[in-house]
């Protein structure tokens, strides 16, 4: 008799578990909201501590090169000419082909001028565009030039190195983000 009971209980068990499972899937089919994010059109909120692209507050930077020294993959290159306390910038670039977004470049900065943004859309059409120029201006600012007038002959501001097609777009995005961050700080 045991095996007969087993036979009938297995039928009840099979049908019951299938019905229960179908109930679960029907509930998911009808009522539960979908969890897909339609990415280019929708985005999930990014946490503020997210480690994305860098931004540089160039007027604060003192060209100490500690961020470049801290970098484990040597992706930061800095070049500037020193005229006393005035800097004449030629280069501050981050190679995003190498960058591992470890954030080791942020803490060493003595003037807190380099930050990471939440910008993560780094896709470009060519690997050349992955080397990002962090400078908002090259050479000297006009007021610095005026300060130095008389001491040394001011050089004509060097042309900004060609950053490639995708560079300008990213540049402007990061600048916008920087402005936003500054506005948030003021609040």
């Amino acid at each position: 008799m045991g095996s007969v009971r087993e036979y009938f209980s297995s039928i009840a068990n099979g049908l019951g578990s299938a019905a229960k499972g179908m109930g679960v899937t029907l509930r998911h089919f009808t009522s539960e909201p979908h969890i897909t994010v339609q990415y280019p059109r929708e985005t999930k909120p990014i946490p503020p501590t997210y480690r994305g692209m860098h931004i540089l507050e160039q007027d604060k930077c003192i060209d100490c090169g500690l961020c470049a020294k801290a970098c484990p993959v040597d992706c930061i290159e800095i070049e500037a000419e020193h005229h006393g306390r005035v800097l004449e910038w030629t280069k501050f670039s981050i190679d995003y082909k190498k960058c591992i977004f470890c954030e080791f470049c942020i803490p060493p900065c003595p003037v807190d001028c380099i930050h990471m943004t939440t910008e993560f859309e780094l896709a470009t059409e060519s690997p050349d565009h992955m080397v990002e120029d962090m400078l908002t201006w090259t050479g000297m600012r006009p007021q610095d030039q005026a300060k130095l007038e008389g001491k040394t002959k001011p050089k004509a501001p060097a042309a900004k190195p060609a950053g490639g097609g995708g560079g300008d777009d990213l540049r402007s995005r990061v600048a916008a983000m920087m402005a936003k961050k500054k506005a948030e700080k003021e609040d």
Binding site: I11, A18, G21, V24, H28, F29, E32, H34, I35, T36
Partner: protein, 353 residues
């Protein structure tokens, strides 16, 4: 069919074998077009059902509105893909197998009554014609599996053979129950009977068992999960069509969805009233000429309801083991199918006598 023959014979003035040939060509051409469009819709629907059951969205980009053009885009892609025939394959069998598989299932459309008079041939043994012609598909699958010269393909084909041959028995047995009620094998008789007496499913309590058994057995016949052992991605790569690519591969996919349509059409016609409305609210079978095509819409709605249940079940249950499939077929479905037939027979005699 008769309308088409008279149209070709009288309106266009054809004689001899030409009216019949052109009538068949028209039917088959329009059915092929219907099947292609239906399969594309069903694949899109399957992906949508699967996605929503898993709280995803499914295809959303191609074509704008909810990714409706995803299936045509995939079909176009498959058309342009290279048709690879493996080195060790038996080229002729490898080449012919998808055609055999597709033809076996497609032939089932001949007997399906879509509406009153909208049927290519009203065969006397329509029910068993569909079951018999659909099992030609197994031959094609074995051809595909053996000709591929791959162990996975052969395993898949052998599993398919064992499974489909086992599940022919319960499905045919379960179909005997509505046949006993209606007293005919002719598919059009099921519609006229159900227009008069109500749906067969409500004829007696044994009919529910018969429907359940036929539904489970037809899932196995279509190689749908939880009976997708011949494909079994996680075990056999993709079973008998592992070595296929391009358009030949897509024929196997097309075959799966067409066989789903055919078995759902049998379920709808034999158990769920065919093209008649519930309680015969509108006598669809006897409406004047253009309006009897409402029956097509009614039948298609019922068919898609059954197909939805098949998809729903596919995304609920995991795949069964080979021995479980066999024991389910022989130890559970077959005896209970015989029980349903015997019960129906006794019920019929008891109610009538």
């Amino acid at each position: 069919m008769d309308i088409l023959i008279t149209f070709f014979a009288e309106t266009l003035g054809m004689s001899g074998v030409w009216p019949l040939s052109f009538a068949y060509a028209t039917c088959i051409g329009s059915l092929l077009g219907f099947v292609t469009v239906y399969a594309m819709f069903a694949i899109w629907m399957e992906r949508k059902v699967a996605a929503h059951i898993q709280q995803r969205l499914g295809p959303m980009e191609v074509g704008g509105w909810h990714g409706w053009a995803q299936s045509p885009a995939d079909a176009l892609k498959l058309l342009f893909k290279e048709d690879i025939i493996p080195d060790g394959a038996n080229k002729w069998l490898f080449w012919i197998a998808p055609a055999v598989v597709f033809c076996g299932v497609f032939a089932g459309f001949i007997a399906i009554p879509f509406a009153a008079g909208v049927q290519i041939v009203d065969i006397n043994l329509g029910v068993f014609f569909i079951i018999a012609i659909a099992s030609i598909e197994v031959v094609g699958v074995i051809m595909a599996g053996w000709a591929s010269n791959s162990k996975y393909s052969l395993f898949g084909a052998v599993r398919e053979a064992a499974q489909v041959v086992s599940y022919e028995l319960p499905s045919a047995t379960a179909l005997l129950a509505p046949i006993l009620v209606v007293g005919s094998f002719k598919l059009s008789d099921f519609n006229t009977y159900q227009a008069e007496h109500g749906w067969v499913i409500f004829a007696n309590p044994f009919m529910w068992i018969a429907l359940l058994i036929f539904f489970i057995a037809s899932l196995a016949g279509c190689k749908r999960a939880p009976f997708d052992l011949p494909e079994a991605e996680s075990e056999l790569v993709s079973g008998f069509h592992t070595e296929y690519s391009g358009m030949r591969f897509s024929f196997f996919g097309l075959e799966e969805y067409v066989s789903m349509f055919v078995v759902s059409a049998i379920t709808a016609t034999l158990f769920l009233g065919g093209y008649t409305l519930p309680f015969n609210l509108l006598d669809v079978g006897n409406l004047p000429a253009p309006f009897h095509l409402i029956g097509v819409a009614v039948l298609v709605v019922k068919i898609f309801a059954v197909i939805f249940v098949q998809m729903w079940l596919r995304w609920t249950l995991p795949r069964m083991r080979v021995d479980q499939v066999m024991s389910l077929g022989y130890k559970y479905l077959l005896p209970w199918g015989l029980f349903a037939v015997a019960g129906t027979a006794i019920w019929q005699v008891w109610m009538e006598g």
